[in-house]
C-alpha cells in the first residue's frame, strides 16, 4: 500500500513487558488478586462466594442503570415483592453446602455411580428375585407412587429458583431442584430395572396409586399445595421445613430404609439413602436462610409470624398426609418398623428444625 511509509509513524516502539504472567512487573494494582466488591462471610472469601456473589445484580448495589426491561405491569426483572418475607439485606445469605458447578457435578455424579453400581451388582447376584413378594408389591405401588412426590417438589423448586432476589438464594434453590429431580429419576429407573427381573412387575402401578389410592391423596395434596404457592420462599420453606421431615424422611428413613433388609432387600436402602444425604444439605441451606430472615433486625418479627403461618398451613396438610400413609407400615410380611415410632421421630425432627428457626410448633405436632 502506498500509505505504508506515512503509517510507519504510528508504529511507535513501546516497552511491553516480556511476560504476561503475574509478577512480571510491579505497578499500581499489580497485586490486586482477589474479588474485592463484596464482604466475605468469613475472614476470607470462599471459592463458592467468588463464584456466586453479585453475579445477579441489584440496583441497590452496583446496578447503575437499574433493571432495563420490565414486565408489562412495571415489575422489574427481579423484584423483592415476589415473596411476603422481607429482608434488610438479601445479600447476607450464603449456602451452607457452598455448591458451585464443580462440586455439584462431583456430588451428583458420585451418587449416580453409587446408585447404578448398587443396582447392577444387586441384579447380577439375582437379589431382586429374593425380595419378599409382599415387599415387591410395596416397592411397585408405594415407592412407585412416592417418586411423583419427589418430582413435584423438584419442579416446584425449579420454578422457585427464578424468583429469588440474589444469586445465592436462587442457586441454593436450583441445586435443591436438581437433587430432587435426580432422585425422582433414580427411583423411576431403579424400579424399571428391578422390574426386568420380577415377572409381573407393573411399572405403571406407582402413578395409579399416586393419582387414585386414598393412601397417597394426602401426600399429593400436600405436594400440590407446595407447587401451587405463588411465593417462592413459601415453596422452599414448605419443602424443606415441613414436607421433608414429616413425609419425606418418614417414608424414606422411617419405613423403606428400616424395613427393607428384613424383606431381603439390601438395594432399596442404598438407593434411597442418597436422598437423605441430599436433604441434609438442602435443610442446612434452608435453615441458614430462614434463620437470617427470622432474626433480621428490621423484619425479624414479621417474618417469624409469616413463617409460623406457613408452618401451620403446610404442617396441617403434611400431618394429615403422613397419617394416611400409616397402612403401608402394615403391609410388609416382616414388620420391623412401627408407624407410631416413625411419626414420633418425624415430629421430633420438625420440632428441632422449628426450634432452630425460633418458630412455634403447631399444637398438632406438639404431642
Amino acid at each position: 500500500m502506498s500509505a505504508q511509509t506515512s503509517r510507519a509513524a504510528a508504529a511507535r516502539p513501546i516497552a511491553i513487558a516480556k511476560s504476561g504472567a503475574a509478577g512480571a512487573a510491579v505497578f499500581p494494582g499489580s497485586g490486586s488478586r482477589k474479588y474485592n466488591y463484596f464482604e466475605p462471610k468469613g475472614r476470607k472469601a470462599t471459592h463458592y462466594e467468588d463464584m456466586t456473589v453479585d453475579v445477579q445484580p441489584d440496583p441497590e448495589r452496583y446496578l447503575l442503570q437499574d433493571w432495563i426491561i420490565s414486565f408489562p405491569d412495571g415489575t422489574p426483572t427481579y423484584s423483592k415483592d415476589w415473596t411476603a418475607a422481607k429482608s434488610s439485606n438479601w445479600h447476607k445469605f450464603r449456602a451452607v453446602d457452598q455448591e458451585w458447578e464443580r462440586t455439584h457435578y462431583q456430588r451428583q455424579s458420585t451418587i449416580c455411580g453409587m446408585v447404578q453400581n448398587t443396582i447392577e451388582n444387586g441384579r447380577k447376584s439375582g437379589a431382586p428375585t429374593r425380595f419378599d413378594p409382599a415387599w415387591v408389591k410395596i416397592l411397585q405401588n408405594h415407592l412407585g407412587a412416592y417418586k411423583h412426590a419427589e418430582f413435584g417438589l423438584g419442579t416446584s423448586t425449579m420454578q422457585a429458583q427464578r424468583y429469588g432476589y440474589t444469586q445465592m438464594v436462587n442457586n441454593a434453590i436450583l441445586t435443591n431442584s436438581s437433587y430432587k429431580l435426580r432422585f425422582a429419576q433414580d427411583i423411576t429407573l431403579y424400579l424399571s430395572e428391578i422390574g426386568l427381573d420380577l415377572p409381573g412387575f407393573d411399572n405403571a402401578a406407582g402413578k395409579k396409586h399416586w393419582l387414585e389410592d386414598p393412601i397417597w391423596q394426602g401426600v399429593r395434596k400436600s405436594v400440590e399445595s407446595v407447587m401451587g404457592s405463588n411465593d417462592y420462599l413459601e415453596q422452599y420453606f414448605a419443602t424443606n421445613v415441613v414436607f421433608e421431615p414429616l413425609i419425606g424422611e418418614l417414608f424414606r428413613s422411617g419405613f423403606l430404609m428400616q424395613a427393607a433388609s428384613a424383606q431381603n432387600d439390601f438395594i432399596t436402602p442404598a438407593v434411597v439413602s442418597a436422598a437423605e444425604a441430599d436433604y441434609e444439605r438442602n435443610l442446612a441451606n434452608t435453615v441458614e436462610l430462614f434463620h437470617i430472615l427470622g432474626t433480621d433486625p428490621t423484619y425479624g418479627a414479621q417474618n417469624l409470624a409469616l413463617f409460623n403461618k406457613w408452618l401451620a398451613k403446610h404442617a396441617d396438610l403434611a400431618l394429615d398426609a403422613a397419617n394416611h400413609l400409616q397402612p403401608i407400615w402394615s403391609q410388609p410380611r416382616v414388620k420391623v418398623a412401627a408407624f407410631a415410632d416413625a411419626l414420633a421421630h418425624a415430629k421430633n425432627r420438625i420440632k428441632g428444625i422449628a426450634a432452630e428457626l425460633g418458630l412455634t410448633v403447631p399444637a398438632n405436632l406438639a404431642s
Binding site: 504472567a21 494494582g29 445477579q56 446496578l63
Partner: protein, 556 residues
C-alpha cells in the same frame, strides 16, 4: 477362552432402552387436581402440542458426563499453568477478557432462571428433563466462567479490572449491552424471552460466534484456557438448541402463533446481531495480535455461522410452516458488518471511551493496519488516522481522546433499544414513544422499541410483552459530572486511589499510567438530553447533520 469373549459380554445384563428410560421419566408428571400450579410467567402464545425431547437423556447419564467434561476443563487449566501459559499470552487479548467475562456469567445464569418460565408452559413432561439439564448447564456455565475469570486474575500480569468484575458489570457503559442481552432472556413474554430470544436465536445462532469462533482467536493469542472452558460450554449448547427447536415445533403448527413468531424472530435476530456482533466482533478483530491473512475475518465467520449455518439451514426451513422470514434484516445485518463497518466503529467507540473502561486498549499498529486493509478494503482510509491518534494520545499528559477536539471524533447518540451507540451514522433514526423522543441506531431497533415491545402488535393485544425500562442511556447517569469524578464513582480506580484501571496502552510501568488527575477537567454529558431539548425542526436538522457523520483529522 474364545477370541470374541470380552469383559462387556461377561458383565452385561439386560437393561431398559434409552427411549424407554426417557419415557418412564417423562411420565413422572401429572396434572394437579387439588391445587392449581403456581402462577407462571405469562405468554401470549398458545402451546397446545406436547413438545418432544430430541435428546432422550436422563440425569443418571447426564451428571457423570458433565463431571467428565469438568475434569477435562480443570485439568487443562492446571496444565496451562504448568506450561507457563501466561508467559506467552498476549496481554492485548486478555485485557478484552476483562470486559467479556464481566458480562457473560449473568446472561448464563439468566438462562438457568428462564428454564423456570418455559418449564411450566410446555404441556406434558417430556421436555422437562431437557429443561432441567439446561438449567443445571447454565448454572455450570455461569460459575465455570466466574472461575476462569478468577484464574486470569490470579495469574495474569495486570489483575486490575478482573478484581472488580461484577461491580464493573453493573456500572460500565459497555456491559450495559450485556445486561440488555441477559434481561431479554427472562423478562416479559415467557416464550418471547426464554424460547425465541434465548434458545432459538441466541443459542442456536450466536453462540457459535461467541463460543466457537472466539476461542479460536484466543488460542492464536496464547490463551488456551478460554477455548478449554468455552468449547466445553458450547458442547452443552446442542441440548439447548434441541430444547428451543422442540418448543418452537410445538407452537409453529398453530397459525395463531405465526404473527408473534414473526415478530419475535425479527426482534431477536436484530438485537442479537446488534449486541453480539458489536462485542464479539470487536474482541475477535481488535483483541488479537494474530494477523494471518489466511484466517477468517469476523465477517467471514459471520457468513459461515450466522448466514449459512443459521439463516439458510435453520430459519429458511421455517417458511414451509407458513412463517414469513425477515430476509431483509439478514441482508441488512450483513451489510452493516461488511459495508458499514459496524464492528470497526464499535471498536473505535470503545477506544474513544477508554478512560471510563475497566480494561486496557492499546493502539492498533502497522501490522494490524495491513491485515484490516486486506480483509476490509477501505479500512485504512476511514480508521487508520484514528488509531494513530490513539497511539499518540496514549501518553499521560495528553488530552484524553474522548475530549480532544483535534481528533475529529464526534460522540454518538445511544440506541435506546440495543444500547450500543448509534455508530452507523447514516442509519440513525429517532421516534416518539409515549410522548418522549428516543434515538436508535437503526430502523430495526426503532421498530423493536416502538412496535415489538408494546401492548399491541398489528392490532392484536399482547398483554404479556415486556417493556423497556430503567436508565437506558448510560451517559445520562453522569450528565454534568467531571469525568474523573465519574471514574471514581464507577470504582474504576486502582488500590492506590488515583491510578485508573483503564489505560490506553499495555505499558506495565507506573510512570506510564494515567491517574485521575490526568483526565480531570472534562465534563460528561447526555446526548439525548440535548436532542430532546431541540424543537422538531431543529431536531430534523440535527438528525440530517448526524447522518452525515464525521471525519477523523489526519494525525501527524
Amino acid at each position: 477362552m474364545t477370541a470374541s469373549l470380552t469383559l462387556n459380554k461377561i458383565t452385561a445384563q439386560k437393561g431398559i432402552s434409552i427411549a424407554e428410560a426417557a419415557n418412564r421419566v417423562a411420565d413422572l408428571g401429572w396434572t394437579p387436581s387439588y391445587v392449581q400450579e403456581a402462577m407462571t410467567f405469562p405468554t401470549d402464545y398458545k402451546i397446545s402440542k406436547t413438545p418432544r425431547d430430541p435428546m432422550k437423556q436422563v440425569l443418571r447419564s447426564y451428571f457423570p458426563m458433565q463431571e467428565e467434561k469438568d475434569n477435562r476443563v480443570y485439568g487443562a487449566l492446571d496444565a496451562a499453568l504448568r506450561g507457563d501459559m501466561f508467559r506467552n499470552v498476549e496481554p492485548r487479548w486478555v485485557e478484552w477478557m476483562k470486559l467479556f467475562l464481566a458480562i457473560i456469567p449473568f446472561p448464563e445464569i439468566s438462562a438457568a432462571r428462564s428454564m423456570a418460565m418455559v418449564g411450566r408452559l410446555a404441556p406434558g413432561e417430556e421436555l422437562r428433563t431437557g429443561f432441567t439439564m439446561q438449567m443445571v448447564d447454565e448454572f455450570r456455565h455461569s460459575t465455570i466462567q466466574m472461575n476462569l475469570k478468577k484464574w486470569y486474575m490470579e495469574n495474569y500480569i495486570d489483575p486490575a479490572g478482573f478484581d472488580i468484575t461484577e461491580a464493573a458489570f453493573g456500572k460500565c457503559y459497555a456491559t450495559t449491552i450485556g445486561r440488555q442481552f441477559a434481561e431479554g432472556f427472562l423478562t416479559g413474554d415467557a416464550i418471547t424471552a426464554a424460547n425465541v430470544y434465548l434458545t432459538v436465536v441466541a443459542e442456536t445462532a450466536f453462540t457459535n460466534t461467541l463460543f466457537v469462533a472466539m476461542p479460536s482467536e484466543a488460542a492464536r493469542n496464547g490463551d488456551y484456557a478460554l477455548p478449554t472452558v468455552f468449547l466445553s460450554v458450547q458442547s452443552d449448547e446442542s441440548r439447548h438448541i434441541g430444547n428451543g427447536h422442540s418448543m418452537l415445533m410445538a407452537m409453529i403448527n398453530d397459525p395463531s402463533n405465526h404473527q408473534l413468531l414473526e415478530r419475535d424472530l425479527k426482534y431477536a435476530f436484530w438485537q442479537n446481531h446488534a449486541i453480539v456482533d458489536a462485542a464479539i466482533g470487536t474482541f475477535i478483530e481488535y483483541g488479537t495480535t494474530n494477523r494471518d491473512k489466511n484466517k477468517e475475518s469476523y465477517a467471514e465467520l459471520w457468513h459461515r455461522w450466522i448466514y449459512e449455518d443459521y439463516y439458510r439451514t435453520y430459519m429458511l426451513p421455517l417458511e414451509k410452516y407458513g412463517i414469513k422470514i425477515h430476509h431483509d434484516d439478514v441482508a441488512a445485518a450483513w451489510d452493516r458488518i461488511v459495508k458499514k463497518n459496524y464492528v470497526h466503529k464499535t471498536a473505535q467507540f470503545f477506544t474513544v471511551g477508554w478512560s471510563v473502561n475497566f480494561w486496557r486498549i492499546e493502539a492498533q499498529t502497522e501490522r494490524d493496519f495491513e491485515w484490516f486493509e486486506h480483509k476490509y478494503p477501505g479500512w485504512y482510509a476511514e480508521f487508520g488516522d484514528f488509531w494513530k491518534w490513539h497511539a499518540k494520545l496514549s501518553v499521560p499528559g495528553e488530552t484524553n481522546i474522548l475530549f480532544n477536539s483535534e481528533v475529529g471524533y464526534s460522540y454518538p447518540h445511544r440506541c435506546w433499544s440495543c444500547m450500543v451507540p448509534c455508530l452507523i451514522r447514516e442509519d440513525f433514526v429517532c421516534d416518539e414513544v409515549d410522548g418522549k423522543i428516543y434515538t436508535y441506531c437503526s430502523e430495526g431497533c426503532r421498530w423493536t422499541h416502538k412496535v415489538a415491545f408494546a401492548a399491541e402488535y398489528e392490532g392484536r393485544a399482547t398483554p404479556a410483552m415486556g417493556r423497556f425500562s430503567g436508565r437506558r442511556e448510560w451517559e445520562d447517569c453522569y450528565h454534568g459530572w467531571d469525568v474523573a469524578d465519574a471514574i471514581k464513582d464507577l470504582g474504576f480506580v486502582r488500590p492506590d486511589g488515583k491510578t485508573m484501571i483503564a489505560q490506553p496502552h499495555l505499558r506495565f510501568d507506573a510512570k506510564d499510567m494515567w491517574t485521575l488527575d490526568h483526565v480531570r477537567g472534562h465534563t460528561l454529558g447526555s446526548p439525548l438530553r440535548g436532542f430532546r431539548a431541540l424543537s422538531p425542526i431543529e431536531r430534523e436538522v440535527a438528525t440530517a447533520e448526524y447522518r452525515k457523520g464525521f471525519k477523523i483529522n489526519p494525525c501527524h
